[in-house]
């Protein structure tokens, strides 16, 4: 599934904090994207299995399945291998950043975050495709 076969790019947002889901979702919807929301890693994986998104914005610390794990599974699966991932987290120590890139994330955004910056990064990643 590529961007061209859809009217609007589909973005999956997963975070157990409803405020983040709201903030990020609203901002990206306003920017013209279609949004899928998940409140934990398990739900995220399930939504992905139903519709493969063009980009995934994942919180790292989520119950049941963490953002790292979701990213790893995305990379392991051929159908979802190409989905770019932006990881969101409150915790930014080198070990975490390294780990993020190790599992195959494309970008890393620290909380508190700037919505404009997030949108810019999303656009940058999706624009490349």
């Amino acid at each position: 599934m590529t961007v061209s076969s859809r009217e609007r790019p589909l973005i999956l947002i997963a975070d157990d904090d409803p405020d983040i889901l709201e903030l990020v979702g609203f901002r990206l919807e306003r920017a013209g994207y279609e949004i899928m929301r998940a409140t934990d890693g398990e739900e995220a994986l399930q939504l992905i299995s139903e519709r493969v998104p063009d980009l995934a914005v994942l919180d790292v610390m989520m119950p049941k399945v963490t953002g790292y794990e979701v990213t790893r599974r995305l990379r392991d699966n051929e159908a979802t291998n190409g989905v770019p991932v932006i990881l969101l987290t409150a915790r930014v120590q080198e070990a975490d950043v390294e780990r993020g890139f190790e599992v195959g994330a494309d970008d890393y955004l620290k909380k508190p975050f700037s919505p404009q910056e997030l949108r810019a990064r999303v656009q940058a990643i999706l624009g490349r495709r």
């Binding site: 405020d19 709201e22 903030l23 901002r27 306003r30 909380k111 508190p112 700037s114 919505p115 910056e117």
Partner: protein, 337 residues
């Protein structure tokens, strides 16, 4: 005597049951209130989000309760955000008079009201609060001081760096609070922090060194290297740690010298840092520390040697008398494959 007791107990019992009834009523009322607030919040979230986008929203017909809910929602959102959006949140609160109200509350006689006000001012993001927050760093109550410190950090105010470190040096705020606030201010705090690395008080130096390690660049290595000979062990250990974090390779030679420090936890920090910035030359010394030193430094040295030269560690571990730390390090190297 007996009758006194009887009446006393009876009175208590009556009071007790009365208050239980009062609580039951209160609970009922609270639950209904919460449900109403929940619905209001759902409604007002869109308003909040629109405000964040910078759209003009008509707020004139907002009743008191709704204004409260909106403020809470915005405050919560604000905690997650940075950048231009926070400026919009701040101006909203300023226009509504909320900032003014909280500044007033900072003068309250009750410590918890002052502390809550100090905390909320940080969430609201208004720069109007900065002067009062700085003054609150001298409040008699610890919670107020800590909340003020955290808010100054959230507001990202560079002029607050020195007062924060001062407050720490005088033990007016806990280290973790000061540290976190300074980290929140981030890079703008660096110039002052770099100076404070030479402050008279060891706590101030210690924290400044630690934060330069977290915020600074490799070029700060030269100054930190000087701290390896500080009089305070804590500062020496922090300096070693910071040099490792910054990856400052010019520190390697001095660190090597510091492997012989008097204090075990300093030696451990030095060893760990060498694992990052050292080179193959220092491995034999690290191996010696790993064999002979006490638990913590030996362990750190074994780990550091393994990072620099895994083969050497494997080799050394096979020699009799290598000690448990080299064995552990070698096994871990083996496991990593």
């Amino acid at each position: 005597m007996i009758s006194v007791l009887t009446w006393g107990a009876a009175a208590l019992a009556v009071c007790g049951w009365v208050s239980v009834c009062a609580l039951a009523v209160r609970r009922f009322v609270l639950v209904r209130l919460e449900r109403r607030r929940g619905k209001a919040e759902l409604r007002l979230r869109r308003v909040a989000l629109a405000l964040l986008e910078g759209e003009s929203v008509d707020l004139t017909d907002l009743n008191g309760d709704d204004a409260d809910v909106l403020a809470t929602v915005l405050g919560r959102f604000g905690r997650n955000l940075r950048g231009a959006t926070t400026a919009r949140i701040a101006s909203f609160f300023e226009r509504q008079g909320e900032v003014y109200r909280q500044l007033e509350a900072l003068g309250s006689r009750r410590p918890w009201r002052r502390a809550t006000a100090a905390f909320v001012l940080g969430d609201m993001g208004s720069r109007q609060g900065i002067a009062s927050l700085r003054a609150a760093l001298d409040d008699p109550d610890l919670a107020v001081r800590s909340a003020a410190a955290r808010s100054l950090g959230r507001l990202g105010e560079p002029t607050a760096v020195e007062p924060l470190v001062q407050a720490l040096a005088e033990r007016r705020i806990p280290r973790s609070v000061a540290g976190q606030a300074l980290l929140a201010i981030g890079e703008p705090a660096l110039p002052v922090l770099r100076n404070l690395v030479r402050a008279p008080e060891p706590e101030a130096r210690g924290l400044a060194v630690e934060l330069v390690g977290l915020l600074g660049a490799a070029s700060d290595g030269a100054e930190l290297v000087g701290r390896l000979r500080d009089s305070s062990a804590e500062v020496r250990a922090n300096a070693a740690h910071a040099l490792g974090k910054l990856g400052a390779e010019e520190g390697a030679a001095e660190l090597r010298g510091a492997l012989g420090d008097r204090i075990p936890f300093v030696r451990a920090a030095v060893a760990r840092a060498l694992g990052v910035v050292g080179d193959a030359d220092v491995v034999p010394e690290l191996l010696q520390v790993a064999r002979e030193d006490s638990f913590d430094p030996a362990r750190a040295a074994a780990g550091a040697a393994a990072r620099l030269d895994p083969a050497a560690v494997r080799y050394a571990a096979a020699v009799p008398g290598a000690g448990p730390h080299l064995h552990e390090a070698a096994d871990l190297v083996e496991m990593a494959g």
